[in-house]
């Protein structure tokens, strides 16, 4: 699936929920099911700045495609990063760089987050794109 198709799928899923409580419960479930990052990558270098809770993101390049793993000490934050990983993992770095991220607005994630968390979300997207830029340079 392309990034856009995955994003549409996520938007569809979130549109099924009527209220914030269901969305939060879904995000919490996503957080709980997030594959844990390898302990060796939970380093200060991999911490995303801008999040009040700690978030670690690591990227690996496998056959021209990036795979992401992540963790957070807060479960709702884990749910947020799980959504991002689902959207961007297994994709070519260039596609990640070019990807539109407006699906975040469409699922109403930002409006349900505190400003500090919303800033953290922006930082997570930025970090994922930074990884993509770095690996794209390697591929060239």
């Amino acid at each position: 699936m392309t990034i856009k198709e995955i994003q549409e799928e996520i938007v569809d899923e979130f549109s099924m929920f009527d209220d914030w409580m269901q969305r939060y419960e879904y995000m919490i479930d996503l957080g709980k099911s997030l594959p844990l990052i390898d302990e060796q990558y939970k380093t200060d270098d991999n911490i995303i700045k801008g999040c009040q809770s700690k978030v670690w993101v690591h990227a690996d390049l496998e056959e021209d495609k990036l795979s992401f793993t992540a963790d957070s000490d807060a479960i709702i934050t884990k749910g947020i990063i799980a959504i991002l990983i689902r959207a961007f993992s297994g994709q070519h770095p260039k596609d990640i760089i070019d990807a539109d991220t407006s699906f975040i607005d469409e699922i109403g994630l930002k409006e349900h987050l505190s400003p500090t968390r919303a800033n953290g979300l922006v930082s997570m997207i930025k970090q994922i794109k930074m990884y993509a830029i770095a690996y794209q340079t390697q591929l060239k």
Binding site: W20, M21, Y24, E25, I28, Q52, S53, K54, D73, A74, I75, I76, T77, H112, L113, S114, R117
Partner: protein
Amino acid sequence: MQKTTLDIQTIRKDFPILSRTVNGQPLVYLDNAATSQTPKQVLDVIVDYYSGYNANIHRGVHTLSQEATDKYEQARATIQHHFNAKFAHEIIFTAGTTHGINLVANGFSSLLKKGDEIIVSALEHHSNIVPWQMLCERTGAVLKVIPMNLNGELELDAYYELLSNKTKLVFCNHVSNALGTVNPIKEIINAAHNVGAAVLIDGAQAAPHIKADVQALGVDFYVVSAHKMCGPTGAGMLYGKEEWLNKLPPYQGGGEMIAEVTFDKTTYADLPHKFEAGTPNICGGIAFGAALDYMNAIGFSAIADYEHELLVYATTQLLTVDGLKIYGTALEKTSVISFNAGSIHPYDIGSILDKLGIAVRTGHHCAQPIMDFYAIPGTVRASFSFYNTKEEVDTLVAGVKRAVAMLQ
């Protein structure tokens, strides 16, 4: 336990913000340690100032300037009487607690030398740590820390051992913002004075709950913020003993703080103007005085009794939540409860509570050393004011239970 004599429902009508909704739910505001809400009696003063006599003070000959000056100096007198300072000129208007601390820390730059020692408590928040670290960097003085125990109480025996003739300054909060501990500041001040050290007490978290008498305490400096005691943000007070304020050099240069300026030499104004460079927060100072009038009309003794009642009730009720642990269990506490539920991150609980219209603080509360001490990333902190109710405590407890059920 003494039952409250306050008519809380009538008091709540003074606070327009308490009747708003958040996320479709009635607001339950329990972040009073961060900032308190403002009653209409104070809001009216702010509106009156800007709509009636907004003018710069002290220098104008016109009527508005004189009216504003009179009100501003009346507010200074109100603050002086509230804290029982000996003179009105011992009250310096500041932008808040942090500003007051920095003013003193900056002033001591010229009074300390390498090897001098300054002592700070383990219960401080960053505003009462960082300025002293910066002072140490500037002067070569050494920072020492009074340790705390697991209850969140300072270990006074260890403090007494830290004191010596090298000790020049001691800094401590009256009440811990993160845990609510009321520190034994009278003992701390007396012991410091015995070795000739000056003492600054950060009263930001105490002033909304405890009426401090600076002369009875014998404290050298006492700092507070107006916005934590029903006043506006950006206003506060530094109390300093006259002899100390005369010793300290000015903090900032500018208008109002001068006696005479030539290109060869400037002489400084007398107290308090020496420390009040530039146009101050005039409205903020006047409104601060009005906030003190408001709280004094209710009565600090009645406020303390009622808040203690709320603290005991909230503590008992919160402990019915499975896995909930309270950090800070000092015998002497104000109405602050810092807690975690199991291994759930405080931000997660705070986020769910916000959706339920409940405002609490989460995180390290700008007191990272305390969180490091307990080896936790932070806590959920519910802090109560005299306008909170037991029904709001019940809403909090129900919200925490709901959040825990979702997050476990």
